[in-house]
């Protein structure tokens, strides 16, 4: 498809990295299929693709974390055998994983020398690392207290430690896997400054992301991956976000959802001054207020980790909070014995949680057992006072699986045997068919294939048209833009502003997501 690879070769003699025919399967899943890629020295190369496209797997192979089933790796033109991370480090490759690999109760220095000590005793290594840290900090804006414990550092600082770890090991090639997913916009900007600085020093950087904006902002070349295959490598300057997006998903994006304008009714949910302090004493919600009416979808946009998850958990009944929530005019308890998932369901709230694998489903349970999950007290599921009516649940499940087109439609199959999209359909079937007054939906299409996305969006619109209230939390701006009737942006535990989809654009929302509140809502220019 399109302009196939090889741009790097024209620029310098040997590319910093060249992959040839890399394949990797996890059991029946082909994560990487015959991938070839060349990255020129001293450039920032982006790899973009949807969740599950195989980007992280590819880079983990390059870093020796996984072994490829077949294929070759060349570093600076020489063939490299990378069997484990040790080999990768020796070849000058450093990697910053999406989930940091730091020892939380170690100091920064201890984390930096771990595995790269220069002798059996620590004293010299620590002193050496302290010196290097000072120079690196000056050179690249990578300041961090060497004696601080990781657990006391912010996410942004932890990431710096990861970068420092790689640089301390003299990495020439730095791979960053979804580095901005957990960063605030200003932290992300800082990171990009660091990356440009590194590039100027001749380092090669590979940036894995699914965010188009980052690719356009910072990379020189970009590769697109889809379903385990490398589709194209192009110069960033010669492409556009629309073009990349289309390649990424394989067809015209900006998934047009077929929907009529909302006709909102009574206020269903009223949230006032909601505050949450988590187990570690960190304030997660700092006074959130909004209304949600029947027959409308309120989209909550924002960078992950700005309080959206906590908001869903509070509304779902399993995180204590202060403030006030009223549903159809009745107060909901926010704390204590009566604040639980079961009581919320009884009150008419259904919830499709953000993480279906760790919350929405019990992966070891059969589909029918998962259909009863959270509703196992339903009188229709009981045989008598003592026993549940498993046959009735199975019959109910069969119907639900059919109506939501879950494949294969076998109620006795374990949840873990279904694909991501079908797992999500099981959760949706369970929650939507309860006919709730309010549906909470978190990341409804994360890790879901395109076909299922369309189906899921359609079902949400249908529920809205049936006069139900929907609170949609998503980090995918496009999803919010196409589904929501109103958009609220969260930043740092607060709602920064509300917009109507027609009156805003990505730039305007992006500013709000970055915590810049201009208050002016005079509509943006067309995107």
């Amino acid at each position: 498809m399109g302009s196939e690879g090889g741009q790097g070769r024209q620029e310098t003699a040997a590319p910093a990295i060249e992959l040839r025919g890399i394949s990797k399967a996890f059991g029946p899943v082909q994560a990487n299929r015959d991938i070839s890629l060349a990255v020129a020295r001293g450039t920032i190369h982006g790899i973009i693709g949807e969740n599950g496209a195989g980007k992280s797997t590819l880079m983990s192979i390059l870093y020796g974390f996984y072994r490829a089933d077949s294929g070759e790796i060349f570093i600076n033109g020489r063939r490299a055998e990378i069997h484990d991370s040790q080999d990768a480090i020796a070849a000058g490759i450093g990697m910053v994983f999406q989930h940091f690999k730091l020892v939380e109760n170690f100091t920064v220095l201890e984390n930096i020398i771990l595995g790269a000590e220069n002798g059996p005793l620590l004293r010299d290594s620590l002193a050496d690392a302290r010196r290097s840290l000072l120079t690196l900090a000056e050179e690249y804006e990578l300041g961090v207290d060497p004696d601080a414990r990781i657990e006391d550092l912010s996410v942004g600082h932890r990431q710096r430690v990861e970068i420092l770890k790689a640089l301390y090991r003299q990495a020439d090639i730095l791979i960053l896997d979804e580095p901005t997913g957990v960063l605030t916009p200003s932290e992300a900007d800082h990171l990009f400054r660091i990356l440009r600085g590194l590039k100027e020093q001749g380092k090669t950087i590979i940036l894995i992301t699914h965010k188009l904006r980052e690719i356009m902002d910072v990379t020189d070349t970009v590769s697109v991956m889809r379903r385990g295959e490398m589709l194209a490598t192009v110069r960033t300057a010669e492409t556009s976000p629309e073009d990349l997006a289309e390649r990424m998903v394989g067809r015209k994006v900006l998934l047009q959802v077929d929907k009529r304008p909302a006709s909102p009714g009574e206020t269903v949910l009223k949230v006032e001054n909601l505050k949450v302090v988590d187990e570690d004493g960190v304030a997660r919600l700092k006074g959130v207020s909004f209304d949600l009416r029947a027959g409308e979808i309120l989209g909550i946009a924002g960078v992950a980790g700005n309080g959206q998850s906590e908001l869903l958990e509070v509304l779902g009944g399993y995180r204590p909070a202060t403030g006030r929530i009223t549903l159809n005019g009745h107060d909901l308890p926010l704390d204590g014995r009566l604040a639980n998932g079961r009581a919320r369901r009884a009150a008419g709230i259904a919830h499709v949680p953000e993480d279906r694998q760790s919350e929405g489903l019990v992966m070891e349970f059969a589909a029918w057992e998962n259909i009863a999950f959270g509703y196992h007290h339903d009188p229709a599921y009981q045989k008598n006072a003592l026993f549940m009516d498993n046959a009735a649940i199975q019959a109910d499940t069969e119907g639900k699986m059919q109506r939501f087109d879950v494949r294969p439609p076998d109620p006795r199959l374990q949840a873990k045997s279904f694909s991501g999209g079908n797992q999500q359909k099981i959760v949706l079937a369970r929650e939507i068919e309860r006919n709730p007054d309010l549906l909470l939906v978190g990341q409804p299409t994360r890790g879901v294939d395109i076909g299922a996305i369309e189906f899921i969006h359609q079902r949400l619109i249908e529920l809205r048209d049936a006069g139900k209230a929907i609170l949609l939390v998503s980090v995918e701006l496009e999803e919010i833009m196409s589904l929501a009737d109103r958009i609220a942006v969260m930043f740092d535990g607060r709602i920064m502003g509300e917009r109507l989809p027609a009156d805003t654009d990505e730039r305007d929302l992006g500013l709000l997501m970055a915590g810049v509140s201009n208050g002016a809502n005079d509509g943006g220019e067309a995107a």
Partner: protein
């Protein structure tokens, strides 16, 4: 209680603490590396038996210690294969090895010596004898310091001195060496070690070898120094007390010494003064003193006094995430 009686109690405390201390440090290496070890008991038992048998056959107590430690290391390796390589449940593996030790020691002991699992009594060089430190007799008459030196400090078997000397060594290894840094890291976050290019499997196995050796010394001490024979089930739950001491010490070496001395003191008291009369009002039954280490550990675990913070990844097999 007069001064000499007091000294004798402390002396007994030291003797009884040594087994706990060695076993506790053994557990420390394993658990700091992220492998739960409730099989300390079994490793001690198998070592106690092998040490007694080899010491008896060879006439050398030191050879006994060596052989006992080897047997204990073999057990540790089985635990390693099950829990590190095959991601098996570490609790189950530990329980099984404890059973295996109780069975094997008696089956083999019975087959060889026909004494219902007991070994013959060790004599001469086959058992450890007490070492009299220099000048012990000379200073014995000096008030206060004299008896402390000659009664309390002098006159123990060599393994006692070895055990207490190991404590600062363990501290130094753990906090001042590359090995210690990696060991602690692998118990906290194995992925950090793996991505740093260090093998998690190798680190954990190395830790288990040390665990095996230390446990072996503990077991050998029981049968060749504290007693002079191996008897069926002679560890009598000391492996579990050591585990309790490890929690009590919050997985730290110097504190481990403190905890094992405390538990040793409780054992010494219950041996020497079975029923303690409290001002003639009531008497504390010996069973209470015996159960006190366990009760204290539960209190610590409950977090009402202090807080036990285990290594973060202890008990979790390391699997590269997908």
């Amino acid at each position: 209680m007069d001064f000499l009686q007091f000294l004798l109690t402390l002396d007994s405390t030291i003797r009884l603490s040594v087994v706990l201390l060695l076993a506790c440090l053994a557990g420390l290496f394993s658990e700091r590396a992220g492998v739960v070890d409730i099989g300390l008991e079994g490793k001690m038992l198998i070592s106690a038996f092998v040490a007694a048998a080899v010491a008896y056959e060879s006439g050398s107590a030191w050879l006994g210690v060596l052989a006992g430690s080897a047997a204990s290391v073999v057990f540790a390796m089985i635990h390693g294969v099950a829990s590190i390589i095959y991601r098996g449940d570490q609790i189950i593996s530990g329980v099984a090895l404890n059973f295996l030790a109780s069975g094997l020691t008696v089956v083999i002991g019975h087959a060889i010596y026909k004494k219902g699992g007991q070994t013959p009594t060790l004599t001469g060089d086959a058992r450890f004898t007490e070492v009299k430190l220099p000048f012990a007799d000379a200073v014995a008459d000096v008030p206060v310091i004299g008896p402390i030196y000659s009664e309390l400090i002098s006159g123990h078997t060599p393994l006692v001195y070895v055990a207490f000397a190991i404590v600062p060594l363990v501290w130094w290894v753990l906090y001042r060496t590359r090995f210690g840094l990696r060991l602690r890291a692998v118990g906290e976050n194995p992925a950090s070690v793996d991505t740093a290019g260090v093998s998690v499997v190798a680190m954990r196995f190395r830790a288990l070898i040390i665990t095996g050796i230390l446990c072996g010394m503990a077991g050998a001490y029981l049968s060749t120094a504290q007693s002079a024979f191996f008897g069926k089930e002679m560890t009598a739950g000391r492996g579990y007390i050591a585990l309790a001491a490890l929690i009590f010490a919050n997985w730290r070496p110097v504190q481990a010494m403190g905890a094992t001395l405390l538990f040793g003191l409780l054992e010494a008291i219950s041996n020497l003064y079975p029923n303690i009369d409290v001002f003639g009002l009531f008497s504390i039954p010996v069973q209470f003193t015996q159960a006190l280490p366990y009760i204290l550990t539960v209190v610590i675990l409950a977090g009402f006094i202090g807080r036990a913070v285990p290594p973060r990844s202890v008990g979790v097999p390391y699997v590269k995430e997908r």
